[in-house]
Amino acid sequence: MGLVDLLFGILSAAAFGAAFGVVFTRNTIYSALFFVSHLLCLGVLYALMQAPLLGVIQVMVYAGAVMVLFIFAIMILDISDFEDDEIGERPKALVAATALVLTFTGMFFAYTKGLTIKTALAEPAHGLQPLDTDNVVRVARVLFRDHVITFELIGILLLVAVVCVMVMAKRRLEN
């Protein structure tokens, strides 16, 4: 077990713990902060998994921009004192959590026919260079060559989002 591997394990545990925290803290703002840490952990994990570009984007876009939006919204609505009742009954919630997680994971294992998930995956391509060499270039190549239409559509999607936000945010639509 190498150092990287250990790091991976620790970060994974942290990500899971943070996720747990998101669901089980009563306070909205704590949930948001747990989620930020969850995202940060994931960002590092991405970097560890030969995806440095995604790691960076994860930290910048998700943990940065998106979460700022969230916290902004929380602050605007001034709902920090709102506390969930259900979460108040932690034992019950915990049982539910365990049950659902186990069900889902169990279902997943049932489909992959056991814990050796590898047999359920496609054959890995051998002899290629690791993904983190020329990572940005290669991602960009896929993105702008194979998925150029999708990429363009994302642009539209963002525009749609802008219009949507505008509609929802304006006080009255009629002149």
Binding site: Y111, L121, A122, D146, L153, V163, C164, R172, E174
Partner: protein, 468 residues
């Protein structure tokens, strides 16, 4: 890609025109732009009708299925315009943003229908979904509208997450999420190998989202709430548009993937039967007309799905016919609803009680719509149902067909109840008075006639779907 792009261009134009024109004339211009965009898109679809399938960058195909669903979607867009003309003022829909979002979401749907790659499917799905969330909540001054938007959004996003997980699993099992590659790999794998199983899990998760969008039980719970909360033209759009797009997507899956090799027929069949039953019994006791149509929309999703249980051969054609006819019936129903809607209150069955004979046009159109919805000859609704049952039997799913057909009996009870109210009960004091704007009246007349025409001479409809 021309039709999709012309819709997008239209949306841009609307947005652009909306800024300088802040006067009353604005509405006219924007409506005109939208109409032209729709017309142009329709023109491109028809122009390229007979062309061979083209694939753009492996993710986008313009084939027959896509063209068919696009023409349907454009028609739905047109009908929404008609409904808005009658009702836009009172619902606050006569603004540039509405038209822009309408066109955007239509474009999203056309992309969705043309997508040959799960990631494009996902993006397109999100595009039209985002627009729809907001359209549903367009009446945001009212709590109903806001509630509809919130429910639709949270559940929609939730369902999208399942899509995503499913896509990932498929990627893991296949190494790609291009439909044709998935299909290839699937055919090459033995049915109970772990890879095939994982693939199936992914596929099922993807299907959850499709099912959510088209309102299949048990993923249908949002449907009546959102439909009721949205303004009537938007409801019409949500039910017909999402259905055409969603079923086009499912049909494309069916065309590419060997459904019969998985246990999908059983799963889809159970979903279909459950949907039919829950949709119809849910509608049995509804008083609000819009909610009733919402439940009926659910039930119709179930019927359309019956056509897909057997997979790719013949199924997609039957399903597309079904949803196209459903779109027509749906428009007719909502147009009739629009015609009696005055003010904010949702019309109930009691409002139309006993007015059938005094308002023969309204009554006849409603009767045709209801008979067609119930699937009684000689209306197009009968042929639509006939088509999907035929496919189910052809592919050997007799039990599903029988269950679905027994569900039809309940549906007959639902729709005949409307006619009972309309013709056979005494008129109440506050009965509604249909109010026709010319385009609405004309389109109601045309669509009623078309329902009968297709019921008697469905040749053209069959020609449309030939070769699927």
């Amino acid at each position: 890609m021309a039709p999709d792009l012309s819709l997008l261009m239209g949306a841009f134009m609307v947005l652009a025109a909306d800024i300088p024109l802040r006067s009353q004339s604005n509405k006219r211009v924007i409506e005109a732009i939208t109409t032209v965009a729709l017309g142009l898109a329709a023109f491109f679809v028809i122009y390229s009708w007979r062309l061979q399938t083209t694939v753009v960058g492996t993710v986008f195909v313009a084939d027959h299925l896509a063209a068919l669903s696009k023409i349907g979607l454009i028609a739905i867009g047109g009908t929404v315009l008609v409904l808005v003309r009658r009702q836009g003022q009172q619902s606050g829909l006569l603004v540039g943003e509405f038209y822009a979002l309408l066109l955007f979401s239509l474009a999203g749907m056309t992309f969705f229908a043309s997508s040959n790659h799960l990631i494009l499917t996902f993006t397109a799905l999100e595009t039209f979904s985002l627009a729809m969330y907001v359209l549903a909540g367009f009446r945001k001054q009212e709590s109903y509208g806001r509630e509809a938007a919130l429910k639709y959004f949270i559940l929609g996003a939730f369902a999208a997450a399942f899509f995503l997980l499913g896509m990932v699993l498929i990627f893991g099992a296949v190494g790609s999420v291009e439909y044709s590659k998935i299909g290839e790999v699937m055919r090459s794998l033995p049915q109970d190998s772990p890879r095939a199983m994982l693939l199936m899990m992914g596929l099922l998760l993807v299907c959850v989202t499709f099912a959510f969008k088209i309102g299949l039980a048990p993923f249908h719970l949002w449907v009546p709430d959102v439909y009721e909360g949205a303004t009537t033209p938007v409801t019409a759009f949500l039910s017909a548009g999402a259905k055409i797009a969603g079923f086009a997507g499912l049909a494309r899956l069916a065309l590419n993937l060997p459904f019969e090799r998985l246990s999908l027929p059983i799963v889809l069949g159970s979903l279909a039967v459950l949907t039919i039953v829950l949709g119809n019994v849910g509608a049995l006791r509804q008083l609000t007309i819009k909610r009733l149509f919402a439940y009926s929309s659910i039930a119709h999703s179930g019927y359309a799905l019956v056509g897909l249980v057997g997979g790719g051969s013949g199924g997609p054609a039957a399903v597309m016919r079904y949803v196209l006819i459903y779109g027509l019936m749906n428009f007719l129903c909502f147009a009739l609803l629009t015609s009696i809607e005055n003010g904010q209150r949702n019309a109930t069955i009691e409002d139309i009680q006993g007015i059938g004979f005094e308002r023969p046009f309204f009554g006849m159109a409603m009767a045709i719509a209801m008979f067609s919805m119930a699937g009684l000859p000689p209306t197009a609704g009968f042929l639509a149902k006939f088509g999907v049952f035929k496919v189910a039997l052809e592919t050997g799913h007799t039990k599903i067909a029988i269950a679905a057909i027994l569900g039809s009996v309940i549906s007959a009870a639902v729709y005949l109840r409307v006619l009972v109210a309309l013709y056979m009960r005494p008129k109440l004091k506050e009965a509604a008075t249909p109010n026709w704007e010319w385009s609405l009246g004309l389109s109601v007349a045309l669509s009623s006639l078309l329902l009968i025409y297709w019921g008697v001479l469905p040749g053209s409809l069959y020609a449309l779907t030939a070769g699927l």
